[in-house]
Amino acid sequence: MLSIIGYYTTQFGELWEHSLFDLVEEAASGVLKSTSIEKKQIDAVFFGNMMAGVLENNLLSSAKIAEVLGIHVPIFRTEGACASGGMAFHLATRYIQSGSAKTVMVIGGEKMTDYSPEEVTDALAAASSGEEQEAGMTFPGLYGMMARIYLDKYEYTEEHLAHVASKNHYHGSLNDKAHFKREISPEKILKSPYVASPLKILDCSPISDGACAIVLTSDKNLVKRGKGVEVVSSEMATDVISLKNRKSLDSIEATCIAGQKAFKKAGITRREVGVAEVHDCFTIAELFALEDLGFWKKGTAGGKIKEGEGKYGSTSKLIINTSGGLKAAGHPVGATGIKQIGEVYLQLTGQADRRQVKNLRYGLAHNVGGSGGVAVVTILGS
């Protein structure tokens, strides 16, 4: 059995006083402290990061983490665009299951705010096809194209998208570690300027700095000592990079595949999941996630979110993105997948503070890379 026995996250936001590896160091020492385990008990480290190589000429993170932590164990960096963190976690589960390690630290981190919007836009666009890059396409643009199809097909408007962001900002206001801790009304979101139509600035997750760390173990003695949750399943799927070659433009097939595998492996139904952290890099992406993961019927998510479903404090069976999601908690790309799993861990262990959902048995984390080229789905159980 695999368990998560601890989680730590730095503040997310514009952290100009901290470098990438300052944040990694804070996350790693934070999680060791919270689990009361020593460095020598860590058999390997997995690190999710997308852009350090592109933005700041910063590679061989294995050795940099070894220097920060003062250890000599195997350290791997994974890159899966915005799913770099989820991919690191997924590999860590398989690494332990292969018998190569008992206890592994999984870190996710990204430093983005040292750079101009154009530089970050360029770096993110590295995860799109050559043709898309040549067309001057951006990430908001790719999701904007998908959003237009969804709105057109199911007769929704930009107002339906605004309610996703508004809900997540409300959740962010309950999370001290969130980049944005203030509520924003749907009206204000609708008045914000376009980034890539029909998506506006307040439909988009922000450019953030941050790092998170998790300790994952198969060692029963360690699990007994602290607050542990079981990793019921961790599954990943891929798809073509080019949006034009996808089977569907109003869903993410990689999510459908990873989700089906994860639920099959877990042997539970959608109704047993009480909290979900889904990948809302843009408001439209949260609607896709809820439908593609099988929680809600295709074409219904826009209406349900507008009616208030998924919001903390509502009567919904499933509370969505209690951390504030990528939208309000922030989106330090490599850290996001770990934050999502960490948030579900906090919820299942009763440590989610002002946003604690009650009577939980299972929680799900869903991390997408690029415009849907990679998806990782993790189900945790208490």
Binding site: P117, E118, E119, T121, D122, A125, S129, G130, E131, E132, E134, A135, G136, M137, T138, P140, G141, L142, G144, M145, M146, R148, I149, D152, P193, Y194, V195, A196, S197, P198, L199, S242, L243, K244, N245, L249
Partner: protein, 101 residues
């Protein structure tokens, strides 16, 4: 800057698509571009279903906002595709323009 070798490699593909017609499947108008495209913003990018069965993603130029719609007919044309400095090789590529309008 984009290397001349890359331009040469990509340009071999351009002629295959020039002049082809198709319909807009979906589109977006980009207001915040990457650094090489700043000069052109805001601009439309369209995903086009070509009549020969292929699909293509490129910018849509020479158009007014109200005419850009899902289903609108377009044609592939040759245009300069990104902002370069005065000593760089100019990169040409495919863009689309509306037809019958």
């Amino acid at each position: 800057m984009i290397s001349p070798v890359k331009i040469w490699r990509r340009q071999k593909e351009i002629r295959k698509i020039l002049g082809k017609k198709g319909s807009i499947v979906t589109f977006t108008k980009i207001f915040i571009p990457g650094s090489d495209f700043k000069k052109y913003a805001p601009y439309f990018v369209v995903l086009v279903q070509l009549d020969d069965g292929e699909r293509s993603t490129a910018q849509l130029v020479d158009c007014t906002d109200t005419k850009v719609k899902i289903g609108a007919r377009v044609k592939a044309i040759l245009r300069k595709v990104r902002e370069v400095s005065s000593e760089d090789v100019i990169a040409y590529g495919v863009k689309f323009k509306l037809i019958n309008s």
